[in-house]
Amino acid sequence: MGIAAVLVVFLHILFSIFVLLTPGKHNAKSLGKLYNQLVLLGPFFTESRIKTSPHLYISFKVKDTWSPFVDHGLANFKSYCEHPWRYGKLHYGDFERYISLQIGEQIRHKEFKGMGSSRAFRELNQFIVQEVISRQVDSVSLVYGLNVYLPETKTVRFDTVFKYTYNPSVIAPSKKL
């Protein structure tokens, strides 16, 4: 029984090394893929993760006046940093960035079928109107993109992923509250 246990550990390590040395060569439902996703966790700070930061800027119109574009997720993050006991503020922007990323991916893969038809967009719209703006507005303008830092010039470039200006009342809610 003890030797069998040693063998299990040996196979576990051997298979992990094999998966580590053959990345991207495992089918979606194979044991290799499962190991890749669950056993060999990480890396968490990859180059792509540290080179760009996502931002969603929101502006809204009330009585012909547009508000300035604000990144509410970032504002909440800064609020957490100043008051670290406000844990909720830390993850507040995560949801809107997660949904925005999904919309961006749909656009990239040409799967985005319009603002009203996309479940992700309806979720984002409902979240913004009810949670972020929390008031009756005529129009909403969204700009989502990535800040890319360029170390050579010490400048930051903004790459727009999507930009929409629309009437939020014509977008059906994603969930009934």
Binding site: A5, E47, E123
Partner: protein, 292 residues
């Protein structure tokens, strides 16, 4: 060949001899439950907000529905899931470690990960993987027949080792990725990090402004992550390694605002502690307490 067989046999005794480090393992398990309880309580209001707008796509197969029953429940009644979850965690915390409790614990952490996917980070997946390996880490119910007892011990010790390997892999993979990356080797990575507005703590003074220090930080990170997997098993370097790891994660917590990841990694270090470490702490405390 005979020597290899004898060696395997002697190593094999590690698995069959007894439950390894029972006190240290029990403490690791309980602290992991406390961490989950804290995490669940803190994300509850956030999850309520997220679930007001977001629907989880769930599998249609029966095994999938069973495995993600908690997520199905949270899709409609998020407060009911969190209420039951917190209650179950309290029960697991105050009862002896057993298989049923461990299964429920894994079920909760896995569903918590699925529910919180929009706001999840690396800590959630580390948590549910540790809780998965923790399933066989139980001494209850006591098995009466000899063969069953041996199987119970082997599974317990294997699971304990798999928890340790899981943690070591995290560092090794991260270290390897950084070593392969020119951005990390040159120290520029920290210059990038300084400009990550949604991660880098703006309250702090600019600590990654010097190229020289960025290279030092980069190589310290790479060396720590790559050496952890080898040195954490060494009797004399194990504790200093874990101490360095704690400082490393506290630094990341403050600079990169990642409290969840820092806490789960520091919690995971408890799996490397031995019963003798706790005995040393106990006698150290006793020596310092005034004698009656």
């Amino acid at each position: 060949m005979r020597r290899l067989k004898n060696y395997s046999k002697s190593v094999g005794y590690y698995f069959t001899d007894d439950f390894q480090e029972p006190t240290a393992t029990r403490i690791f398990h309980k602290v992991l439950v406390v961490y989950t309880l804290l995490r669940m309580t803190l994300v509850w209001p956030l999850s309520r907000m997220v679930m007001s707008y977001h629907s989880i796509s769930l599998p249609k197969s029966l095994p999938g529905k069973l495995l993600l029953g908690g997520a199905f429940l949270a899709n409609q009644h998020v407060d009911v899931f969190f209420g039951i979850g917190v209650l179950l965690l309290v029960v697991i915390l105050f009862t002896n470690v057993n298989y049923i409790g461990n299964l429920v614990f894994f079920y909760l952490t896995f569903n918590l990960y699925v529910i919180n996917l929009p706001i999840a980070d690396g800590s959630d997946v580390v948590l549910f993987m540790l809780s998965l390996w923790c399933i066989p880490i139980a001494t209850l119910p006591v098995i009466s027949n000899e063969r069953g007892k041996v199987i119970q011990k082997v599974l317990y010790n294997l699971a304990l080792l798999f928890c340790q390997i899981q943690v070591a892999y995290i560092y090794f993979i991260s270290g390897l990725d950084k070593l392969m990356s020119d951005t990390w080797r040159s120290g520029v990575a920290f210059d990038y990090i300084r400009h990550l507005e949604v991660l880098y703590n703006p309250v702090l003074p600019p600590i990654f402004a010097s190229e020289f220090w960025n290279i030092i930080f980069s190589w310290s990170t790479i060396l720590f992550e790559l050496s952890f997997v080898f040195l954490v098993w060494n009797r004399s370097i194990r504790l200093p390694m874990l101490l360095i790891g704690c400082i490393f994660h506290l630094f990341i917590w403050i600079v990169l605002s990642l409290p969840d990841f820092a806490l789960i990694m520091i919690t995971s270090y408890l799996v490397f502690l031995k019963d003798s470490d706790y005995d040393r702490i106990k006698s150290w405390v006793k020596r310092r307490l005034p004698s009656r």
